[in-house]
Structure formats: C-alpha cells, structure tokens
Symmetry: C2
Subunit: 224 residues, 2 copies
DNA sequence: GCGACTTTGTTCCTGCGTTCACAAGCGGTT
DNA sequence: AACCGCTTGTGAACGCAGGAACAAAGTCGC
C-alpha cells in the first residue's frame, strides 16, 4: 500500500482531526491508543479510522494499538506539516480580525505573513505582530514570502477580484469565507466556508427531524 | 414527488446557496433564470441543480426556466425560513465577536437573542444591540426566547460542558467552532466547523497535486 | 395551426464513501 | 513453549452522491 497515489479528501479531513487528538494525548503523556478510543475522541467509526490510517501504511501494533507519538509524526508528515505554510489574509473586518488573532493556526503549521485590506481606516493597524497593509502591496508580499495559501474574508462583491489577484500573484490554494462561488484557474484549489449555509442546514435538519416546534418567533405555517 | 420524506443533506446545503443567488437576482430585477445560468452562479453542475430542485416538486417552466421570485420563496419555505430562528452564542472571544457582529445572518432568518461569556471582562460589553451576559443567565434566556440554535465559539476545553448546558436548556441544534468533537444526546443536531482542518486539507491537496513546493517560509521573515 | 427549438424533469449508470465482518498478528500468561 | 485474548488491517457489501443522456412539455416563429 503506497501512500503517494491518492488519499481521499474525506480521509484527509479526518486525519487532521486525528492529528489534533493525538497531539493532545501526547501532551498528556499517553503512550499508546487503540483505534476505538481514538475514534471515540474524534467522533468517528473505529473501522473507518483504521481504514483511514491504512492509507499511510501499517503504523500500529496488533494487540496493542497505535504508538501516540509515532502516529502523530506520521500523520503530520503525510499532511505536509514538516514545513510551515505561509498564508496571506485579505479582508480585515470582523471575521478577518478574528482569524488573524486566532492562535490555533500557528502551532499547526500555518502562519500568516501578510494582512491586507482595501480600507485606509484599517491599514496601519496591528493585529498580533503584523500590520495591516494596503492592497497595493499584496503582490509583492506574496512573491517575497512565497505564500501558497490565501484566505479571503472580504465582502462578497470583491471576493472574485481578490481571488484573481491572489492567483495571479502565485497563490495555489484559497480558503474563501465570502458567500460567493469563486472561479479560479485550474491548478488552484478553492475551499468554501459558508457560515449561513451551515446554520440553514442545521435548521432544516432540525425541522425535518419532526420538530414539535412548540412556538417559535412566529406561528408555524403549513403550506400546500 | 413529496417534499416531506427526505432531502439529502448535500442538497440542502446547495439549496441554501441557490437561495442566496436567487435573492441577488431578484434584487436585480431578474424575472426568470435557466438552470444553466443558476448553476454557473452557484458553482455546480446544471444537471445536479435540476435534480436538487426536483426534490421540492416541479417549480420551473419548460422552455423558459425558473421564475426567480417564485423559486426563491419555494426554497425559503422548504428550508424553514418563514419563521426566524433564535440563536444564542456562547464564547465572545475574537471569533465570537465576529459572529455576533456579522450582518449576514439577520437577513437570512437567523437572529442572535443572547450572547454569553464566562469572563467577567467580557460581560457587560455591547456588540451591536446586544449585551454580553454571564453564563448564569444562559438557561433563563434560552427558555425565555425559545432559542433552538446554539453557537459555540469557546476554547476547546469548555466546549463540551457548554454543549451540555445548551442541550439541557432546550437547544436542539448546535454549531460548534471549537476544535473538539462534541457528544450530544439523540435528537440534537451538531455541526462542526473547523478552520484549521480546512487549511490542512487545502495544503494537502496542493501538495498532492504535484506541487513543486520548493516554497517554504521565506528566510527573511523574522516572526514567530 | 403546425413545426421546431429550448429547457425542464427524470432515469440510468458510474464512482466514492461508509459500514460491517473476518482473518492475521502480537503480547501476556501459564 | 504454547495458548488465549485483544487489536489491527483488509476484503466485501451497502447506500449515496454526481454526471450524463433521454424523454416530456411548453413557447416562439411562421
């Protein structure tokens, strides 16, 4: 079983979760884990977890489990965490500020190397240890830092032009928080995170679940 | 074809996207749209879009397309947007503040009716037109406002206890931004949004795509 | 009024992801 | 040294999502 050919996307997402759990276990001094325990902590099926791990070759000991530190390093290597990834963030509004100030990225191999905003009011502010720069400097910073990931937290109207500029500057992956579908050239990965869509799915599933819906903000209306 | 039995979860997520596009088209005064155009704006396949729409019965005119306003209302009704959903938000840190201040929810049928934080420093601040309340008031507010959705933006360590309190108070759906897998009683829907996982998937896909990836962090950057 | 074009709605098919269940292997114990 | 329990790793079946092709239906033009 080679690890190079391809790993399913859904598996990659779960590997990232396993990695976080393993890191916590290692910090707690834990030596080994079983697939059942790890699966419970990650919120997945034990069999699925073993299948996910099988994509990176045998890395467990039968009858014992997985060595926490070893497995952690293995997953980190497969996910490409041996080298830090430089990211630029465009759009320093409410959400952008939160992302820039969120400490959860740094110790996971991602580092913001540039913050950008079109508004002169924002430019010059400091968030953490980085200044907010004007959009004019975007291309230069991307080229200089060899940033490979761009995060878009702008209003929807300007997301596509920002995407174009990022890709033109050499960014190869984009995480988009603006509520629009972006079109990027082939070879550039785009991933969409849409908060209101998440809420709507949640609300629908609740409604579908046969919610008694006692009395909400408005009377429940039956439609034909 | 009934709309009640079940609509696939993936379809529901896309319906929310279509709804947003349709709203924009309606505001632009557009009368009808074809599946091809709508699919392009939503970033999906035209055939898939038609299949999605078929779950809510025939709502288009052959040879013409879909009536924008009618389809918008139809989707809104199916998604349960005829009644506003009351949400409470726990954890008013960087991300929580951004969510509370984000205007993209209000006009989509979701309204925050309570903001909560455990830190006395945060309590009493106002974000928008809502005050940050202490955790002690959570149960009362949930009961009073009949909030059905809880959003967790706390540190990972306290996410599970917060989840327990929310469900105990009667919340039926939870959107979790904390990087932990939550366990909730049956009948409560949990949806996870993990920002660092998104980044890691993005980085892996780029690496797998055959990225030359000579680009590590630039030596000139003196940060961290 | 009739033909032809356009577009929807449906059906089939292919591929992926998930789950269950079994065989193989290792450690501990007697 | 051999047995037994425990855990991993793998193989197969099920269900679901995605995509393409076809038929139905309605409108526009003549």
């Amino acid at each position: 079983m080679q690890s190079r050919p391809r790993i399913p996307e859904a598996t990659v997402a779960r590997l990232a979760v396993y990695l976080r759990v393993l890191t916590g276990l290692a910090d707690g001094g834990r030596g080994t884990v079983s697939s059942g325990e790890l699966a419970a902590a990650a919120g997945v099926n034990p069999a699925g977890l073993r299948k996910d791990l099988s994509h990176l070759g045998p890395c467990g000991t039968r009858g014992v489990g997985y060595e926490v530190a070893t497995l952690r390093d293995r997953i980190a290597a497969v996910l490409g965490m041996e080298t830090a990834h430089a990211c630029v963030l465009v759009g320093i509004g409410n959400l952008g500020s939160a992302l820039a100030g969120y400490g959860g990225f740094g110790n996971r191999g991602f580092e913001f190397v540039g913050l950008f905003d079109a508004s002169p009011n924002r430019v010059g502010q400091r968030i953490g240890d980085l200044p907010v720069r004007p959009m004019e400097e975007l291309d230069a910073v991307v080229t200089e830092t060899r940033a490979t990931i761009g995060v878009i937290a702008t209003p929807a109207e300007v997301a596509q032009p920002v995407c174009d500029r990022l890709t033109a500057a050499g960014v190869r992956s984009i995480l988009n928080f603006a509520p629009v579908a972006l079109s990027a050239p082939a070879g550039v990965g785009v991933r969409q995170v849409d908060l209101s869509v998440e809420l709507q799915v949640l609300a629908f599933l609740d409604k579908q679940r046969g919610a008694p819906a006692p009395a909400e903000l408005a009377p429940a209306g039956g439609m034909a």
